[in-house]
């Protein structure tokens, strides 16, 4: 009986002792979350200055009418982009332009860890819980950053989120991500390839500005790591709604045909016209 009690006591000590050691690290207990920078909540991207509008809605020249012309303006990137990546992109653009709209995969996920957020669908929500930081991107990517030394068992399946391990370096959250899906799209028709990884430094620049510096290493398509920075402004009152290329109720895009549309079906709850 005594031996049994001793064994039980030792087991309890071991169980209690393990979390105690881990609890010494910031972010591992609810109490320690109070000492961390206030990342929690909603953030909307600040930079680069309005990429979406300039690209998609106000071209200074008519859009290219030929596949080759479209490939010229689409298949561009940093100087470290490998020529074969550009070739792959150009081939995809040419093929996609030749295909019937219904043949294209419009619902393909276009966001991956390490890709700077864009204007539309680029807002994020950050949730701090003991041992984990969860980062939800408006356009559909959910990232779980585990505060530990190595990936949890079974977490190495490739995905667009990858497997993220984080640690606090003072007031900066440093995140290392591996296990990224090689098909994650860098350019149209061109994935990031195998052995890609991302290192991020997430810092609160001031009370309402969050900076994410991201370094993407993708040897299959880049000859050198690519560093980008994205600032976010705090948006405490932001209500998130679904955003995706295949979001339900998209008035500007018909998912079935793959064609643009302008769906002017009035909402059901409109008030009557003036004077009625």
């Amino acid at each position: 009986m005594k031996a049994t009690h001793h064994l039980l006591a030792m087991t309890l000590l071991t169980i209690v002792g393990m979390p105690s050691a881990m609890a010494a690290e910031p972010g591992m207990t609810y109490a320690s979350l109070q000492d961390l920078p206030d990342f929690a909540g909603s953030w909307t991207p600040l930079t680069p200055p309005f990429v979406l509008a300039a690209v998609s809605t106000r071209p200074t020249a008519p859009p290219p009418s030929t596949p080759a012309g479209l490939a010229d303006v689409t298949c561009t990137g940093p100087s470290t982009l490998r020529p074969e990546a550009i070739t792959s992109c150009r081939s995809f653009i040419t093929a996609a332009r030749a295909a019937r709209p219904g043949d294209r995969d419009y619902c393909a996920r276009r966001t991956f860890t390490g890709q700077p957020s864009r204007g539309a669908g680029g807002s994020i929500e950050v949730l701090l819980t003991p041992g984990q930081v969860t980062l939800s991107v408006e356009s559909g990517l959910t990232r779980r950053i585990y505060l530990r030394d190595r990936p949890p068992p079974g977490a190495l399946d490739e995905s667009f989120s990858g497997t993220s391990i984080g640690r606090w370096d003072g007031k900066t959250l440093v995140v290392e991500t591996s296990g990224l899906d090689p098909k994650a799209m860098f350019l149209p028709g061109t994935g990031i390839g195998s052995q890609a990884s991302v290192r991020e430094r997430i810092t609160l620049k001031d009370a309402d500005t969050l900076e994410i510096e991201s370094t993407l290493t993708a040897p299959a398509i880049l000859t050198a790591p690519l560093v980008s920075r994205q600032d976010y402004r705090r948006a405490r009152d932001r209500i998130f709604t679904p955003f995706d290329t295949c979001v339900q109720g998209d008035r500007s895009f018909d998912q079935k045909s793959g064609r643009d549309q302008f769906d002017a079906t009035p909402p059901a709850d409109l008030p009557p016209p003036p004077g009625n």
């Binding site: 990429v51 509008a53 300039a54 106000r58 932001r238 955003f243 302008f262 409109l270 008030p271």
Partner: protein, 131 residues
Amino acid sequence: MQSTSRSALLLCALGATPVSVAHHSYAMFDESGTRTVSGTVAKLEWKNPHVFIWVYVPSQATPGKYDLWAFENGSPSVLTRHGWSKEVLKAGEKITMEYWPLRSGSIGGHCEKAMRSDGQVLQCPSDLGRR
């Protein structure tokens, strides 16, 4: 695309290309000629990926009646950055819309500016690239 924006694009460089960014093409809108129309806000439809502004406009074809116009706008995420909110426009308020018309000739188009009766101008994202 303006040169400054393109530079920013290339610096960031991760998928920020016309094809990957554009949610859909804007070929349905005639960007060559901005038009203006005034009316009464029916609803600000605040949803992704495009906010829509619904406006009752006095009908030219049927005097005394109203036509319902629809104006596509940016996403809530983008609009929030430029001063918009879900409550910024109220049903019943007077408004003047600057817009790109639909090439189809249907009423409505893509919002460029929404001008309130008190003089406040709400910039629509489509216009920002020209600043």
